[in-house]
């Protein structure tokens, strides 16, 4: 009998030693003369348990973790290949509450399949959406996406179907599909997990988008910091070409779609769609004025869909099961599921894909288990480096685009970073400004100059210089950035800065002064 063992090849699992564990397992099996089949799957997203080793047994997949190379001999001694008991044994993976309580639609296969095996993808409902799409008109495909209520998961939450419809109805001899895989938002890693753990789902989503709007060329603009994703995508793309899922005649339909991965070069701003297109054209990543919309005049001046990885990876299940199936999850105008990413000072960091509507508190405590340090959670930054900091009093806000907008916060790309009570929020505010300064493309003045002045003013405040003048000055500066910037980098840096100032004035030395007065 050949034993099947799963050890994630996911970059985060590898950063915690998964490659060394895999090598030790192979070595030990050879030494003991045991036949094994090793699969480097994606991560299940339970990162405090990584490296997480799974073994296929008759009743399911038994999990062991976190495993280090030095534990491997002991696992063999404990007969883990047949689900034997060991101090690292976690039971059946599917029964772990963290996983069982989720609704994995976009992440349905991540951690389960061999990411670069087309056969495995097909055996787990892969390419069913594309097959349906090939039998439909472009307008019908777009209608399914519109009906699903899917909104851009990159952060802006613009209705995906409306964007697709604009490209569909803009005549052109050449159109493009761009996947924005420049996942630069700190605290986020869901794009990375999909690209490493289930690259075919992204390829399928982009192919469907191409067929829907009549685009024959796709680009995945991937950040250079993701070499593991680069490898997985290229391997999957070449298999898709070999099997006729990409190329001049997709599955004999006569339809054409080509796909290529292009690497970014460490510029955060290139996650902004117009800057991304400039970069793809081989230029400095300067933000463009809008209009014209990319959907009308985008890459090389042609109609272009620019969607985030998660948006595109959600398309196959929508085309497979119908727009209504997806829309039935969620609340209000936030339909479907959102893959949330728990990070920072949290006991159980990981990926939680669940329908919109759960509260932030449930996410932090029921899933996250509270802080890693055991201290109280003082603040949570939701939605990346341009997202607001939320104090404990706002933890009961439901995870929903509109509910977050109502408290002057954003869900963004679903990143959630927890900070315990040792954090100094004035320092965090200064860091946000500094980040804007480092990453500004320089095209508009409020962002280019304002961020530099912002760092100086916050430094003055931190050092206690003339607060009566400098605090209103900071607010005024934020107002200029908010209203006068060309894109979201300058336009949203005030979110973390002002939310820190408003919710944690004592960290800026203000409440103390008020008390004294």
């Amino acid at each position: 009998m050949i034993h099947k063992i799963y050890i994630p090849g996911d970059a985060a699992a590898v950063s915690l030693g998964a490659d060394r564990v895999a090598a030790a397992v192979v070595q030990e099996a050879v030494k003991r003369g045991i036949q094994i089949e090793l699969v480097r799957n994606g991560s299940r997203g339970l990162f405090w348990l990584e490296p997480l080793v799974e073994v296929a047994v008759t009743k399911g997949r038994m999990a062991y973790g976190p495993v280090q190379a030095k534990d491997v001999a002991g696992l063999f001694d404990a007969d883990f290949l047949n689900g034997g008991n060991h101090s690292l044994a976690l039971g059946l993976i599917e029964e772990l509450p963290y996983l069982k309580a989720q609704q994995r639609l976009t992440f349905a296969r991540v951690g389960i399949t061999d990411p670069v095996s087309l056969d495995d993808y097909l055996a787990h409902e892969g390419y069913r959406g594309l097959k349906n799409a090939l039998a439909m008109s472009g307008a019908d495909i777009v209608k399914q996406v519109t009906d699903s209520g899917l909104r851009g998961r990159g952060g802006a939450a613009f209705p995906t179907g409306i964007k697709w419809n604009t490209v569909l109805n803009t005549p052109s001899e050449q159109k493009y599909i761009i996947c924005n895989a420049d996942e630069g938002d700190s605290g986020t890693y869901s794009d990375r997990m999909v690209m490493e753990g289930d690259p075919f789902v992204l390829i399928e989503g982009m192919t469907i988008a191409g067929i829907a709007v009549g685009a024959t060329q796709g680009y995945i603009y991937l950040r250079v910091e993701y070499p593991h994703a680069h490898k997985a995508l290229n391997a999957a793309i070449s298999k898709a070409y070999e099997a006729g899922y990409l190329g001049d005649n997709i599955l004999g339909s006569g339809k054409k779609f080509d796909l290529e991965v292009r690497l970014g070069a460490g510029a955060y701003i290139c996650g902004e769609e117009t800057s991304l297109m400039e970069s793809l054209e081989g230029k400095r990543g300067l933000v463009r004025f809008k209009p014209p919309l990319p959907a009308i005049s985008g890459l090389f001046g042609k109609p272009t869909i620019v969607n985030n990885v998660i948006s595109l990876a959600s398309v196959p299940i929508i085309l497979d099961k119908g727009g209504n199936y997806y829309r039935d999850y969620g609340m209000g105008r936030s339909r479907g599921t959102l893959p949330l990413q728990l990070a920072g000072n949290i006991k159980h960091p990981g990926l939680v894909e669940i329908a919109f509507g759960m509260t932030l508190r449930e996410l932090l405590y029921d899933f996250g288990g509270g802080s890693a340090s055991g201290h109280p959670i003082k603040a949570v930054q939701v939605g990346g480096p341009l997202g607001a900091f939320l104090p404990e009093s706002q933890f009961d806000t439901p995870l929903d685009y509109e509910a977050f907008a109502a408290i002057w916060a954003v869900l963004g790309h679903g990143g959630v970073i927890a900070f315990d009570d040792t954090v100094d929020m004035a320092e965090m505010a200064r860091y946000s400004m500094e980040f804007c300064k480092i990453e500004s493309c320089g095209k508009c003045t409020p962002c280019r100059i304002g961020s530099t002045r912002g760092v100086e003013v916050i430094s003055d405040i931190i050092e206690g210089r003339d607060l009566a003048k400098n605090v209103p000055l900071l607010r005024d500066l934020c107002n200029t950035l908010l209203n006068g910037s060309l894109c979201a980098l300058g336009g949203m840096t005030p979110y973390p800065v002002l939310s820190a100032l408003n919710h944690f004035p004592q960290d800026f030395g203000i409440a103390g002064q008020a008390d004294a007065a």
């Binding site: 970059a11 915690l16 605290g187």
Partner: protein, 177 residues
């Protein structure tokens, strides 16, 4: 935070590949990269990546060739190189250390790690040690936020990094420098 009670176990973190940049690649190799990629739509970034992958940086001497092949001015090529943080115009140290400075890592002691690394290597960000062994660069998120704080040494990623772990993995590099 890690192993508060037990002494740090280095053995888990040794054995890894180093990031050797190939030296001595010839003018012909650069020409070859340019010739192979210049007809792609938006070819400049792929060419710059190709050269940096090969040489570890983009020598100023290559700029006229790139400009000519793409029908751009040298200033335009230089402007693109200088816009992107990843591209460098000077040779890196033998090993590049990237420390994540982003919020999630800060929430887990990233700043202390950063101070330790700077102190241990004796350099600040964007600098290279005098012996050419190490370059130190900040990175704004490696996407390993669930294993914070994180770093990259050469090609290898490390999560839940402590000062002890850094010292363990840097030792063999120091010895070979």
């Amino acid at each position: 935070m890690n192993n508060a009670k037990n002494p740090f176990d280095c053995s888990n973190f040794l054995a890894r590949e180093t990031n050797m940049t190939e030296s001595g690649a010839s003018h012909a190799e650069v020409q070859d990269i340019i010739a192979k990629l210049k007809d792609l739509p938006g070819a400049l970034l792929p060419i710059l990546h190709g050269i940096q992958d090969k040489l570890g940086y983009i020598p100023a001497a290559t700029i006229p060739d790139i400009a000519k092949a793409l029908n751009l001015s040298r200033a335009e090529v230089h402007g693109v190189i200088s816009f992107y943080h990843y591209f460098r115009e000077t040779p890196p140290g033998k090993t590049t250390v990237h420390i994540c400075r982003a919020e999630s890592c800060q929430a887990m002691g990233g700043k202390q790690l950063e101070a330790h690394v700077k102190n241990r290597l004796g350099i600040d960000y964007h600098e290279t040690t005098a012996d050419g062994a190490f370059s130190l660069e900040p990175v704004y998120c490696l996407g390993l936020c669930a294993a914070s704080p994180s770093m990259q040494i050469g090609e290898q990623l490390y999560g839940r990094v402590s000062a002890d772990l850094f010292d363990c993995v840097i030792k063999p590099e120091e010895a070979s420098a």
